[in-house]
């Protein structure tokens, strides 16, 4: 029965969100709450020589000022600070731990006061005496220090030789600047002191159990039990995968005062958290005259901190996507005196595929082949890195349906050839690719005799629609109306779930719910069999299904018993089942999502003002659980891609090692005026191999390739190739 799966069900939490009933980390109130304010470093590197808090302490209403010298105890070993998704290499940053300053904006003190305004005022009175040290924050200036990090993708053939011998060659360097997630909701934590060494932490996070485990290790000596709750998250895009420093500071405050504490970071302070690392991408593509690839060379150089080694897969996509007998990949890092870079929507792919798909466009120009045709000639039915078939790959259909919806066949290939009044019109396209990941997730169902069910799981809903799809799957599997399903998420005491990231949660949570629902069905069947003269006697689990509030024989719908009758017979008013779902480890196939993006830009010829007037994104991501929430994910991703292409950049002044546009007025993201017609197409991609329900996930695929499609459209409109993002109007003139 799929009355709900695959339908555009509205968000079950929509009403709570628009009425303000939904509570976020900073909304959990308690009487006598203490408010914190952070004093942040204004230098990128050095030591705290002296920190004077006396003036701050004199302010009426200030309760305490925590510093590295005066704070509750924290673990001394590195391992305690490694969260579930911390980079393997390195030594995680420890908030307020010692006198070392590792990056600008690092918290140096926490002022605790009776109200937020007092705390913030007193924070300005804390005097920090620095011992400043020489620092580096400029990637371009530090290229000589770049070092290679190993990546799984293997070279094929001899790419250097094949490139040199290729009939047509394209080589270029692409650049993506540091970008910030800038979720709407500020990072915040509220810690309630429950007594007896128990703390309840309301946190903005993508993984409550990750935060729970992390805090438990850091405060093993002082806290008996942490419970971490995060029912709603106002966007995160990867920023909330790792526990952020404000949660540690809030716990420190609560422990120091033995009172409940709230800390909300300012927007400026959020620029000292993770970010998409500035990355240089060097592509050298060699082609045969027929438009097949002879060589792919892809080198990426990205930023990480001095203390941790964060890197993602930038170059592997070039190895995976297209047929080429010769490939070579290099991934390098440059260590700078900045916070550790982090996952941001489609980490690695958003950057690496931007470069690859721009380079493919340039190669198409060099070959004088239509860019779509070039992709088709290089198309591969197998994962080229691992030489494996895909569980499914409907990229061909993405190309075709996207091109039809966009009208690609009407494109005049010549740059500057299409016009609309004073505007030059450009059409560009690109391919997107991401992984179809799945993780072990547990779920619990409590079914009550009146035909209601509560489904719970520690997974987060970061705005993606997890609440809704969980309800859809449960409603279908339990054969109940969706109104009878309530969903509880993001409480660390609920059944196990990893962080919500990597686009794995839709598949993982759905299977967890489906699997525990089967246990409910089996238990109901047991009850049915215990009834004398049962119409379902002799049936096995697979022979029955739950539908319309009844347990029904699949063969004969006349044989059925209602849930309420069964529970009554069994003397139960509720039935609880919990189960951890794991996926079969099958390495025989590659699992990926794909997309084709077509973009139209209009560029004022005299002034260089760029408008992205149309985007068509055709996505193949297996079974779409809910075209409405999934469509919103892709649409939002396209907007993110517009930002990447045209707006986003953290502007550093290396003379200070500071970001000069650390606010959302000056760090530009698209506003409504920048967003025009976005059409999302989900291409049919049945897949019974990726997992039983055929789900691949869509959170990230939507942004991959979008910046390239827009950059390619800008080239087509203007004849000017801009390779360093964002494409601002001055770069068109240069």
């Amino acid at each position: 029965m799929t009355a709900y799966i695959g339908t555009p069900a509205s968000r079950i939490d929509g009403r709570a969100k628009v009425t303000g009933e939904a509570r976020y980390a900073a909304d959990f109130n308690e009487q006598n709450l203490v408010y914190g304010a952070v004093v942040a470093s204004t230098i990128p590197k050095g030591r705290i020589k002296h920190i004077d808090v006396s003036q701050a302490l004199r302010v009426a209403g200030v309760l305490k000022v925590l510093t590295h010298q005066d704070r509750p105890q924290m673990a001394a070993d590195d391992d305690a600070y490694k969260d579930d998704v911390a980079p393997e290499e390195g030594s995680p940053y420890r908030p307020l731990y010692d006198d070392k300053i590792l990056f600008n904006g690092q918290p140096l003190a926490l002022v605790l006061a009776d109200d937020w305004e007092t705390a913030r005022f007193a924070a300005t009175l804390v005097q920090v005496d620095y011992d400043a040290a020489p620092y580096v924050t400029d990637l371009q200036a530090q290229l000589s220090t770049a070092y290679v990090v190993p990546k799984p993708e293997k070279p094929r053939g001899d790419a250097a030789k094949a490139y040199a011998a290729a009939q047509v060659r394209h080589e270029a360097e692409y650049f993506i600047p540091t970008e910030y997630h800038n979720p709407m909701e500020l990072f915040a934590s509220t810690v309630h002191v429950d007594g007896a060494g128990k703390l309840t932490v309301y946190d903005k996070t993508q993984g409550v159990q990750n935060v729970q485990g992390y805090l438990s290790k850091i405060f093993a000596g002082s806290v008996q039990e942490f419970r971490v709750i995060s029912p709603f998250v106002g966007g995160a895009f990867g920023a909330g995968l790792r526990p952020q420093y404000q949660v540690v500071l809030t716990v420190l405050g609560a422990l120091a005062l033995d009172r409940s504490v709230r800390l909300v970071l300012t927007r400026q302070q959020m620029y000292a958290l993770g970010y998409r690392p500035a990355t240089i991408e060097r592509l050298a593509l060699g082609a045969n005259a027929d438009g097949t690839l002879a060589a792919i060379n892809h080198e990426a150089i990205a930023v990480t901190s001095q203390f941790e080694e964060f890197s993602r897969n930038d170059t592997g996509w070039s190895g995976l996507l297209y047929k080429s007998p010769n490939t070579k990949f290099v991934h390098k890092l440059v260590r700078l005196d900045v916070p550790t870079s982090s996952d941001m929507r489609a980490p690695g792919a958003a950057t690496g595929v931007y470069a690859l798909e721009s380079a493919m466009d340039e190669l198409a120009v060099a070959l004088d082949i239509d860019p779509l045709e070039l992709r088709l000639r290089c198309y591969s039915d197998r994962d080229q890195n691992e030489n494996l078939p895909y569980t499914s790959k409907a990229l061909h259909e993405c190309y075709r349906q996207g091109a039809d919806a966009f009208g690609w066949s009407q494109r005049n290939p010549k740059p500057r050839s299409m016009r609309d009044g004073a505007d030059l019109v450009g059409w560009g396209m690109a391919t997107g690719v991401w992984e179809a990941l799945q993780m072990p997730v547990a779920a619990r169902i409590v079914l009550t005799a009146n035909g209601h069910a509560e489904v719970s799981c520690a997974a987060s809903d970061i705005g993606t629609g997890t609440y809704t799809i969980v309800a859809q799957v449960a409603a279908d599997k339990l054969g109940l109306p969706i109104e009878n399903i309530s969903v509880k998420l993001a409480d660390s005491t609920l059944p196990q779930a990893p962080v919500e990231g990597g686009s794995w949660m839709a598949a993982s949570a759905s299977h967890a719910v489906a699997s525990v629902a089967d246990d409910i069905r089996d238990e109901l069947l047991k009850l049915a069999k215990a009834v004398s003269g049962s119409p379902l006697a002799g049936a096995a689990g697979a022979d029955v299904t739950l539908a319309g509030g009844r347990l029904v024989s699949r063969k004969d719908a006349g044989r059925a018993m209602s849930i309420s009758d069964l529970m009554r017979h069994g003397g139960l008013d509720r039935m609880t089942k919990e189960k951890l779902n794991t996926f079969a480890q099958d390495h025989s196939h590659a699992r990926n999502t794909h997309s084709a993006i077509y973009a139209e830009v209009k560029v004022d010829e005299q002034l260089g003002v760029i408008r992205v007037t149309r985007v068509v994104s055709a996505v193949a991501a297996g079974r779409i659980l809910n075209p409405k929430t999934a469509g919103s994910q892709v649409m939002g991703s396209v907007v993110g891609g517009i930002g990447m292409a045209l707006h986003e950049e953290a502007v550093y002044d290396h003379a200070f090692g500071r970001i000069m546009n650390a606010n959302v007025a000056e760090y530009h993201m698209p506003v409504n005026a920048d967003v025009h017609d976005i059409k999302v197409i989900f291409v049919d991609e049945p897949d019974d191999q990726v997992n039983p329900l055929g789900i691949k996930g869509v959170g990230e695929i939507g942004i991959v390739g979008v910046a390239a499609a827009i950059a390619n459209a800008v080239y087509h409109a203007t004849g000017k190739r801009v390779r360093d993002l964002p494409i601002t109007l001055d770069k068109l003139k240069a």
Partner: protein
């Protein structure tokens, strides 16, 4: 943010009296700029005198056919006021090109004139800035200066005045009515804002204890041939890289009178009388407009990050004059450039 006291002014005289009585008090109107600056510790007033309830919210016609606009008329009310839309569409168009609807609802006419520069260093107390801390140096000279001045700057400061509204007010020969301890006076708009020279901490010629009470517009509104064109890094909700206000009075196929002012290029809204004079008596065509644009940018000087603004300003000037001459002004809500 520092602790401050708060009081309300009961009338203009009381406002003046209150501010004169305190050493570091500030008026607060919409608060859309002042509060941000206070949060960042750039402005540190010990007292806020709330003038937002003063009866300065009227838009009235003056005896000589002009308009008297109270200093507390919200930007959005002004933009959509029938008299403004009808007689001074240039003003309406510029306001609507600025900020967001929510900000414009809060922002006052007087506050718009007194908004401070958006130079990033001015906002960041961890960096030197002559405007914030006289004598500390100008970080923008060798730093992030993409948004900065190409005209009228000094070695002490290369910041720009960020207002859109003011560009049209200077073009239209507006006047600023102020009141202070020494009585009321009227300042021609042209003389209201200052160039940085070696006193970049002073944005305007308003005296410390004066309050703006009104803006006065003369009768001529150039409602037929005008345009306000704002070029920015995204299509809305961004400060101008360059903006141009052009207003023409055409007669017998020739330009009888021209007004031309630029925003985002200097420490004050930049009006260019020489270019206006050069347009007078000319046929409104590309040649005349190019000559005017050349005159505007004759003394322009760029810095490494904002060099592009010189050519951009030139092109934008020509385009805006063309729009004005054709009677096809840039509509504020359509981002396609006409």
């Amino acid at each position: 943010m520092i602790n401050f006291q708060y009081s309300r002014a009961t009338d203009v005289a009381d406002a003046v009296q209150q501010i004169a009585a305190s050493t570091s008090a500030k008026f607060i109107a919409g608060g859309t700029n002042l509060i941000d600056l206070m949060k960042d510790d750039v402005e540190r007033p010990t007292r806020l005198i709330d003038i937002s309830r003063l009866p300065l919210k009227q838009v009235q016609q003056t005896a000589d056919g002009g308009l008297h606009i109270g200093a507390l008329v919200p930007n959005s009310d002004l933009a959509y006021h029938p008299l403004i839309e009808q007689h001074y569409p240039l003003v309406s168009s510029a306001i609507r090109a600025g900020a967001s609807q929510q900000l414009r609802n809060m922002a006052s006419t007087g506050g718009n004139l007194l908004q401070r520069t958006r130079c990033a260093y001015f906002y960041d107390t961890a960096t030197p800035c002559n405007k914030r801390e006289p004598g500390s140096g100008c970080s923008a000279l060798t730093g992030a200066q993409r948004m900065h001045a190409i005209l009228g700057a000094s070695e002490a400061c290369i910041a720009v005045h960020p207002s859109d509204l003011c560009v049209t007010l200077v073009a239209l020969d507006a006047k600023v009515h102020v009141a202070g301890p020494a009585g009321a006076r009227v300042i021609p708009f042209q003389d209201f804002h200052r160039l940085p020279g070696n006193t970049p901490h002073l944005d305007t010629n308003l005296h410390p204890h004066e309050i703006i009470t009104a803006i006065e517009l003369p009768a001529q509104g150039f409602a037929k041939n005008y345009s306000y064109l704002k070029i920015r890094d995204r299509l809305s909700y961004a400060f101008a890289l360059v903006s141009v206000a052009a207003a023409l009075e055409l007669e017998g196929g020739k330009i009888k009178q021209a007004r031309l002012a630029l925003g985002g290029v200097a420490h004050k809204p930049w009006r260019v009388h020489a270019a206006e004079a050069a347009l007078q008596g000319q046929v409104p065509d590309g040649t005349a407009f190019a000559r005017a644009a050349d005159l505007v940018l004759k003394d322009a000087k760029g810095y490494p990050h904002n060099m592009f603004k010189i050519d951009l300003a030139r092109r934008a000037t020509i385009r805006t004059l063309t729009q004005a001459a054709k009677g096809t002004p840039q509509p504020p809500s359509n981002k396609k450039i006409m």
